[in-house]
């Protein structure tokens, strides 16, 4: 099932980047930053990773492809969502070429690889009674309406 993202979610992800969490098959978590992020398709998000960033998560992803991420910086509170899916590290191909070029141009990142996350789950993490509410069963229209009732702010893209 495709996980829909609203335009506001896309804006926060792309403006702030994300904290990416992976775990070994035995349950030991690791975190790196996905400083350059782009929503590449319906339910897919690509992150440009420098060599040292990829080095931390590549051994883990090779054994367990599950990824969870949240929006970095103010997005941790203003975009109160957790995104989950499966990740694939790309080192060649059209997606890699496109994302790597954009990451270099916009943020000066020398991408060694691109983490492509295919989303499978979406949760609200707003503290309170809605914490943990699963949102990926909503249609795009329902999700958009749900979010508009709560928040409308969209950040400026960072340098």
């Amino acid at each position: 099932m495709t996980v829909n993202l609203t335009d506001r979610m896309k804006a926060w992800i792309e403006a702030m980047g994300c904290h990416l969490c992976v775990a070994t098959p035995e349950g030991v978590p690791f975190v790196v930053l996905g400083r350059y992020a782009e929503v590449t398709g319906n339910g897919e998000v690509a992150f440009a990773l420098a060599q040292d960033e990829a080095k931390v998560i590549a051994p883990v992803l090779s054994e367990n492809s599950r990824v969870a991420f949240g929006v970095s910086r103010q997005g941790g509170i203003r975009a109160a969502y957790q995104f989950k899916g499966t990740g694939e590290l790309l080192r060649s191909g059209s997606v890699f070429d496109t994302i790597a070029a954009q990451a270099k141009e916009e943020k000066g990142i020398d991408a060694e690889s691109v983490l492509l996350v295919r989303l499978t789950e979406l949760y609200c993490t707003k503290p309170g009674y809605e914490a943990g509410q699963r949102l990926d069963g909503m249609t795009p229209e329902e999700l958009d309406a749900w979010e508009r009732q709560r928040w409308k702010d969209v950040p400026r893209k960072r340098d």
Binding site: C21, G27, P29, V31, A68, G76, I77, T125, A131
Partner: protein, 163 residues
């Protein structure tokens, strides 16, 4: 045993006191990762991170079956707070044996000091469209930190604390 730096202790406080919003990363025992932002954070001794157990769901379930966690700064990052702390966590809930010990942290001490966190450090800085209507605290997550690595661009993965 690790020892937090002064900068780390200053960062690992509630945002309203100059601290940080943090991400607490957990995993199920079979490796399903989870990441959730937390506002109520503090340090205890030189190697413990405390986080309020409020609204925890999957995080709580994960810690109950797997103590391995990672804590990292979500915001602000631009003040040099590029750290990921790794260690073992327990959720000291009300009703825990008062003499329960987690790597030197005593349940009575923790719950006496941090058991009513919302009153001690109310979330005055949290925007009205985000702040929760009523805080219900069930305990305190205590993270015994064993190492930390950097996520600063260009230095990712370098150890910044080792046991």
């Amino acid at each position: 045993m690790v020892k937090f730096t002064k900068e780390m202790k200053e960062a690992l406080r509630v945002p309203g006191k100059g601290g940080s919003l943090i991400y607490l990363c957990t995993s199920s025992r079979d490796g399903n990762p989870n990441i959730a932002a937390m506002r109520f954070v503090a340090t205890h001794m030189d190697d413990k991170i405390l986080i309020a157990d409020m609204f925890l769901l999957k995080t709580k379930a994960n810690i109950k079956e797997n103590p391995e966690v990672a804590v990292t700064i979500c915001h602000p990052l631009d003040e040099g707070r590029w750290w990921v702390f790794k260690g073992k966590a327990v959720d000291m809930e009300y009703g825990f044996p008062r003499d329960f010990d987690w790597y030197g942290a005593n349940a009575t001490d923790i719950l006496n000091e941090w058991g009513n966190w919302n009153k001690a450090e109310p979330p005055d800085e949290v925007p009205p469209d985000i702040v929760f209507p009523k805080a219900v605290q069930r305990g305190v997550v205590v993270v015994h930190v064993e190492e930390a690595y950097s996520i600063e661009p260009g230095h990712v993965g370098e150890k910044v604390l080792t046991g």
